[in-house]
């Protein structure tokens, strides 16, 4: 068997060599600039160590703006707590408004991190290494932002623990396991926990790198954070195994979380909410918006932190392709909804979609469909995918479109339901806007703190992409 395999190998390799095939682009190292391993460590670790002109002026400006937004949001939340949820623009017709929209928006943003860290890892997509750390951090922060909204909306958030199933002194007052809101709580807390463990696990070797470069108190702190990592072969063996298992565990979470969130709506009978396609539709939308946010953040970070050789145009090309794919998937779901609304002959469903376009909130729908299904089509062109300004703008319109998607689905469905006498508008109040601003403030503040104190790129992993780390890189015959 050996000899026959070798003879075939010899025969096969000759034409390849004879035609002088250039190296397949996907075999090129993902990090540019022929860096040495020490250079990689320095260039990434120096930022959190405060050695590379970090934090620069842009960081302070960004922090000032986002912390102000966070402060405004904090004041609004306090006001909301003291006065009650009547300060929001809710009514008996539209019982869910800004809060649920922001909740789903932020949960969706988180999905890119899990997709990059888990699914792309299992698919051996090596380009993920340049962005996985920050995408995972973004996931954690986004889930925190999302978690704020159901809490605020409870009216009495100090009783949030009633949602946990534990033997209690409240008699038969248990949570209703058939409520999708309870599934939400369970799905999202699982998601947060697994994402946090996954993110932290990846950080352990990097904390050790930082420890070895620091002195004094810093050294101790990094030492504690690294759990005494020595980089021995045994450590690496266990690390790789746990990382793979966690990737496997996190993979179903990419699908489950937003599927459960979509269940909040799809289990109901409200026209525009009840559609069986909601779970995969929401997941595709979440990945679309998540990649849009990753691009928004990474395009700024690579410029300001000089990571152009780590997050290259090829990386951006890959991410925009994922966006194009998920935009098409969302588009297919949109069209399936229209088709079935027409096909089923359900008058309420048909009325809802007519109202969505031609009703008082019609322009929302045009933002939603235009930004999510229309504009991303320009990403078919390579020239567009490699034009950073255009990609940045598309990442912004996609985020806008995805916010409006949730807004359209949730609010325009409630606004005009079965009973025309109860049709009503939603008028967001200043508190609505303030709380939303606060969530953006929290998101960017946390992300800036992350960029300041944690290595933005996984140092240990990215070294595989520098030169000789890849087992498939050489095409010479064995």
């Amino acid at each position: 068997m050996q000899s026959s395999a070798a003879s075939v190998a010899g025969a096969a390799s000759r034409p390849v060599a004879a035609h002088g095939h250039e190296v397949d682009p996907s075999d090129l190292p993902w990090v540019e600039g022929h860096k040495t391993l020490g250079q990689v460590t320095r260039e990434i670790a120096d930022y959190p160590m405060g050695r590379a002109g970090m934090p620069g002026a842009w960081w302070w400006i960004g922090l000032a703006i986002s912390a102000t937004a966070l402060g405004i949001g904090g004041v609004c939340i306090l006001y909301l707590m003291f006065v009650g949820i009547g300060t929001l623009g809710l009514s008996k017709t539209i019982g869910w408004g800004f809060c649920i929209t922001n909740f789903v928006f932020w949960v969706g943003i988180g999905h890119a991190g899990t997709l990059i860290s888990a699914i792309l890892y299992l698919l051996r997509q090596r380009w993920r290494t340049s962005v996985n750390r920050s995408a995972e951090a973004m996931t954690l922060i986004a889930v925190m932002c999302a978690g704020l909204f159901p809490l605020m909306h409870m009216g009495r958030p100090w009783f949030f623990f009633f949602l946990a199933p534990y033997p209690n002194t409240r008699g038969s007052l248990w949570m209703n396991f058939r409520s999708p809101l309870v599934w939400d709580m369970l799905a999202i807390s699982t998601y947060f926990t697994v994402s946090l463990v996954f993110w932290y696990l990846g950080l352990i070797p990097d904390w050790a790198t930082m420890r070895d470069r620091a002195h004094g108190l810093r050294k101790r702190i990094y030492g504690l954070l690294s759990f005494g990592w020595t980089g021995s072969a045994r450590h690496w063996k266990h690390y790789e195994l746990v990382y793979l298992i966690l990737a496997g565990i996190a993979t179903p979470l990419v699908l489950s979380v937003h599927s459960v969130v979509s269940g909040d709506f799809a289990t109901s009978l409200v026209p525009g909410w009840h559609a069986t396609i909601f779970p995969p539709y929401f997941v595709a939308g979440a990945i679309f918006s998540g990649f849009a946010m990753v691009l928004t953040l990474m395009l700024v970070a690579r410029k300001t932190m000089h990571f152009e050789e780590y997050i290259t145009l090829r990386h951006i090309d890959m991410m925009t392709k994922v966006m194009l794919f998920t935009s098409m998937a969302v588009g297919l779901a949109y069209l399936s909804e229209f088709y079935i609304a027409w096909y089923s002959g359900d008058r309420y469903e048909q009325q809802h979609f007519l109202n969505r376009f031609l009703g008082p909130y019609g322009w929302w729908a045009f933002i939603m469909y235009g930004c999510n299904m229309g504009i991303p089509q320009v990403l078919w062109f390579k020239a567009v995918r490699r034009n950073l300004l255009v990609v940045f703008l598309i990442s912004l319109t996609s985020n806008l479109g995805m916010w409006f998607e949730r807004w359209v689905i949730f609010v325009s469905s409630l606004q005009a339901d079965f009973l025309p006498s109860s049709w009503q508008f939603y008028h967001p109040t200043l508190i609505d806007y303030g709380v939303m601003l606060g969530s953006f403030g929290l998101f960017f503040t946390m992300f800036l703190l992350f960029a300041r104190f944690v290595p933005m790129i996984a140092i240990a992993e990215i070294k595989h992409e520098v030169a000789h780390g890849d087992p498939n890189a050489h095409h010479g015959e064995a």
Partner: protein, 395 residues
């Protein structure tokens, strides 16, 4: 390919396949001669089973080409051979189209004017939209166009694929573009086709996820059938031991992943319909989960439980015997799933021998056509630049 022609199928295997093909043809003939009601749903299932087997291979090729994947090049002739059966399956569409008036309730004359469907002399709104859409002529035209598009585009891709690397020709760019075109158009056309061919069997039933559900089934079937045929041919020595543990492991992983994806879509369609309990939707599951819970449970067992628990371990995913057994079970599960979607609304319900024998016949035809296509080309696409990578890649 140098060396003696490989005897891919033994005499006994060939006889068995021709026997099964004959059995299917006999069942069809007897059914048509005796005007048996069950034969028409047998035609539907036979057509869909063979078509979806071919589509599974086509999707396997196109998705890999779209993603610039090279890992599968060593056994790429297998999905190519699977996809090469598409034109033959496409011919079956003519038989299907002929049978449409006997299969679909809305195709019966007088369906839209039946007094039980009129209120105040006007057709009920639930059927209003379908009056123009679900008409035998227009329905059949759509079916023919869809199948012709898939088979035609795939033939073009296969023709380019055949010449790939020969005499320095490099069609990778064109193959990739056509594959992307196939994937994008397939998503839309196949959704409509699923709504047409299976969902409209119960004209008042609707589910937006139905197209995705059928797609998930075809994907799982595609990986199972490519895996099965690759392992069979490898055992015969067709690939000169170039199929490594790595290839088996990756194929096993894909089958595992798409079994989970199928279950995910299955669960949410069921759960959301059960939860909302709208009459037009839940009637679908009352007919299946309520009346044939045994068959429904069996479908989930074959399509999800067996591959999920069977392939969870890494060791098993490298073991050709177990992989082949699981893949075979998944293929059987796909047939049962199709039967459970199609038969409960038909005359005779699930007790329909034609719905077993005719798909067995078309399935045998598929296997014979596959081997015919496979034997025409060298088993290993050695001139292709991606071949060297596929032969030795590691993960």
């Amino acid at each position: 390919m140098s060396g003696p022609e490989l005897e891919l199928l033994s005499g006994g295997q060939k006889r068995l396949l021709y026997g099964l093909l004959g059995l299917g043809a006999l069942a069809l003939g007897v059914g048509l001669a005796t005007h048996s009601g069950g034969v028409y749903s047998g035609i539907l299932l036979g057509f869909l089973f063979m078509l979806e087997l071919g589509l599974g291979g086509a999707l396997f090729l196109c998705i890999n080409a779209t993603a610039n994947a090279r890992w599968h090049t060593v056994f790429r002739r297998v999905p190519e051979g699977v996809a090469a059966t598409l034109p033959w399956a496409a011919l079956l569409v003519l038989l299907f189209v002929w049978a449409v008036p006997h299969i679909y309730p809305w195709a019966a004359p007088g369906f839209y004017t039946d007094p039980s469907r009129l209120v105040g002399g006007v057709l009920i709104p639930e059927l209003k939209a379908k009056e123009g859409w679900l008409q035998p002529g227009w329905f059949s035209l759509r079916a023919v166009l869809f199948v012709a598009w898939w088979a035609g585009l795939m033939s073009l891709i296969l023709r380019l694929q055949r010449g790939q690397g020969l005499g320095g020709a490099n069609h990778a760019g064109a193959i990739r573009k056509l594959s992307i075109l196939f994937c994008v158009t397939f998503a839309y056309t196949f959704s409509v086709a699923s709504f047409d061919w299976l969902m409209s069997l119960e004209p008042r039933f609707y589910s937006t996820i139905f197209g995705v559900y059928c797609f998930a089934g075809v994907m799982q079937l595609g990986f199972a059938v490519v895996l099965l045929l690759t392992l069979f041919l490898d055992a015969k020595g067709a690939f000169k031991d170039q199929i490594r543990e790595q290839h088996r492991h990756d194929l096993g992983k894909w089958l595992f992943a798409f079994s989970c994806f199928w279950a995910y879509i299955w669960f949410f369609q069921f759960m959301l319909i059960w939860y909302a309990d709208l009459p037009d939707e839940s009637r679908y599951y009352v007919r299946r989960g309520g009346l044939r819970a045994d068959v429904m449970a069996l479908v989930v067992l074959l399509r999800f439980c067996v591959p999920f628990f069977g392939l969870a371990s890494q060791k098993v995913k490298k073991n050709p015997r177990i992989l082949a057994a699981v893949a075979l079970i998944v293929v059987a599960g796909h047939w049962l799933d199709l039967a459970l979607m199609a038969l409960p609304s038909q005359a005779g319900g699930m007790r329909n021998l034609y719905a077993l024998l005719i798909p067995v016949g078309t399935g045998a035809a598929f296997v014979l056509l596959f081997f015919r296509a496979f034997a025409k080309k060298p088993a290993l696409p050695e001139p292709d630049a991606a071949y060297a990578y596929s032969r030795r890649y590691l993960t």
